[in-house]
């Protein structure tokens, strides 16, 4: 009985540690609400760690073209992400026009995009750390001559 208890405790501890690790880079959130009767409401919340892991295991031939194109802008993207991590929360861009608002902001370690129109509202949030890791994985997928 005591042994079973220890095993259960070990499994629970491993599960908690696994969940903690998975959520260590924050969560990616996508929320889409269609503003019509019986409109769809899509809400996806996934651990951000899956993004660089997914990029790592993605077929290299599939992303090599994008990877080659990003090489030139890699120092700029890295500098921007590094600076974003350090600076306070702020909105980069806010666009308002009749019937539609768009807001791109840095909020609590994430980049948040909000689009609110008469038809739908879209909310996307991605942690900057995960974006940095994903960019690193994308850069690593370039053919050796490109790097």
């Amino acid at each position: 009985m005591l042994l079973l208890g220890k095993i259960a405790l070990g499994l629970a501890g491993t599960a908690v540690a696994g969940v903690g690790l998975l959520c260590s880079e924050g969560m990616i959130q996508v929320n889409v609400i269609e503003k019509r009767p019986e409109g769809h409401h899509i809400h996806v919340m996934a651990p951000a760690l899956l993004l660089p892991i997914g990029m790592h295991f993605a077929p290299k031939e599939g992303i090599s073209e994008a990877s080659a194109e990003i090489q030139l802008w890699l120092p700029t993207i890295r500098a921007a992400l590094a600076q974003l991590r350090e600076c306070d929360d702020f909105a980069f861009v806010e666009v308002k026009e009749p019937g539609q608002q768009v807001r791109v902001a840095k909020s609590g370690g994430s980049i948040v995009v909000d689009v609110n129109s008469e038809e739908q509202s879209v909310h996307v949030s991605a942690p900057i750390r995960a974006m940095s890791s994903a960019v690193g994985e994308l850069a690593a997928a370039a053919p050796a001559t490109e790097r």
Partner: protein, 189 residues
């Protein structure tokens, strides 16, 4: 005893004042761009921390932009020696340097309170009103490179951050109002 407390309180207040000043000095400055079109009910706000722009700019090496510097060809300048003109302005006292009045347009360029000021007024209803104010320190930083055909934009951004709250550009026409300014607030509210 009371004297000791008074000294302690004074030291505390001094320490508080110094730390507040230090925190204020460290505060990031933001470049704000606001485009308003009240007739259409449209507005665009862009906010960029100057420290971020300063760090990113040197990483962009495309076209005329290299290491935070812009190369200007002689053709672009149309034979105008900007450095010589600015040297003359820098050493001159506050004054109105250029006033051009031509058909339907007044252009005034002056140095006022350490700023280079440009006003353009177009006659007629809906004519453009342009006001540009650039601190001379920023202008100096812009031309601080050794090469004659280069502008040091990164140095200008650093100088802009040091210059404090400044309204740089205001353009008003019949329908739109564009404003570019620098302050220590992250939002435009």
């Amino acid at each position: 005893m009371a004297n000791g407390f008074r000294k302690l309180a004074l030291l505390g207040a001094l320490a508080l004042a110094i730390s507040t000043a230090a925190i204020a000095a460290q505060k990031d400055h933001y470049l704000h761009i606001k485009v308003d079109d009240p007739a259409k009910g449209e507005s665009v706000n862009v906010n960029v921390p100057l420290s971020m722009a300063e760090k990113i700019l040197p990483t962009v090496n495309r076209g005329n932009l290299h290491q935070g510097r812009v190369t200007i060809s002689n053709e672009d300048m149309d034979g105008v020696d900007l450095r010589t003109i600015l040297d003359a302005i820098r050493t001159a006292p506050d004054n109105e340097f250029v006033t051009v009045k031509q058909h339907g347009q007044d252009v005034r360029v002056a140095k006022l309170n350490g700023n280079l000021v440009v006003h353009v007024r177009e006659a007629g209803e809906g004519g453009h009103k342009v006001d540009i104010t650039v601190p001379m320190k920023v202008v100096d930083a812009l031309f601080s490179t050794a090469k004659k055909d280069e502008l040091d934009v990164a140095a200008a951004l650093r100088a802009l951050a040091d210059a404090g709250d400044t309204l740089l550009v205001s353009v008003q026409d019949a329908t739109q109002h564009v404003r570019i300014w620098v302050d220590s607030r992250s939002s435009q509210e």
